[in-house]
């Protein structure tokens, strides 16, 4: 019940932000659409324990996002250089890396963070082992230091 309540608030705020029109008719239609979506979600049985992951509350999250943006900028510059240098500048590799996160949400976050930084893509996940494709040896070394793994794990504590 608590989850449906917070979902209602989130949907209502989302509607209010996107609408910009506050006449009674449109507000009524907005309320109707919120109710409709709640009904659909209830029928789909998509409200479970992880629809509001606890990491949203983590104090580290803003810090992590900031850190991730810096990493994305750094690896973007690296990949852009390699694009303009051409094929000699790349040495694609595939390797495996262990993830130390316990919850599914944090593992997904880690895998997506690897994919989001250009130069590395998570190919496959098997339990706590990720198969990663890297554009160059540098990209591989960057993941193997485990710095990102530690940063994501901080979100769990």
């Amino acid at each position: 019940m608590k989850q449906y309540l917070s979902l209602t608030v989130i949907l209502a705020v989302f509607w209010l932000i996107n609408s910009g029109h506050y006449t009674p008719l449109l507000l009524g239609l907005g309320a109707l659409s919120v109710l409709l979506i709640l009904y659909v979600i209830k029928r789909m049985e998509r409200v479970d324990g992880e629809s509001e992951p606890s990491i949203v509350m983590s104090v580290y999250l803003p810090y992590y996002l900031f850190w991730l943006v810096i990493e994305i900028v750094k690896s973007n510059i690296d990949v852009v250089m390699r694009v303009w240098k051409g094929e000699e500048a790349i040495s694609p590799t595939v390797f495996k890396v262990k993830a130390s996160q316990k919850s599914d949400v944090c593992r997904v976050l880690y895998a997506n963070s690897i994919t989001m930084t250009p130069g590395t893509i998570t190919l496959d996940i098997d339990g706590d082992t990720f198969e990663v494709h890297a554009l160059s040896g540098d990209g591989k070394a960057g993941v193997m230091t485990g710095e990102m793994d530690r940063q994501v794990s901080k979100l769990e504590s």
Partner: protein, 107 residues
């Protein structure tokens, strides 16, 4: 103040545009599917972020800024997911990644 905002926003927009073109060039230059995905992720990440920031600086109402933020949020959620699912399905249907070391190439 207006001039300053304009310079900042156009710097962001032009850099974002340059990165988008770079991503496209990489898409043609790189040898195989997986390396091309790396090039495309330049367009997905920093290029999009810079273009949206540039547009935010041009926006004339708070509502527009919030909407642009939502666009950014949705793109950052969906692009790694789609990149991963593309890579995973390519791998599982038997596409072998092109590797630099010759001995690994027929892994």
């Amino acid at each position: 103040m207006d001039l300053f905002l304009n310079i900042l926003s156009w710097t962001c927009l032009l850099t974002g545009g340059f990165l988008g073109i770079t991503g496209a060039v990489g898409l043609f230059r790189f040898p195989d599917f997986f390396t091309r995905l790396h090039a495309a992720s330049v367009t997905d990440t920093l290029s999009t972020i810079l273009i949206v920031i540039g547009l935010m600086l041009q926006a004339n109402s708070w509502m527009m800024i919030v909407k642009l933020l939502l666009v950014l949020l949705i793109i950052t959620y969906t692009s790694p997911t789609s990149a991963h699912s593309l890579a995973k399905s390519a791998l599982h249907t038997g596409l072998k990644p092109f590797l630099k070391d010759k001995e690994n190439n027929n892994r």
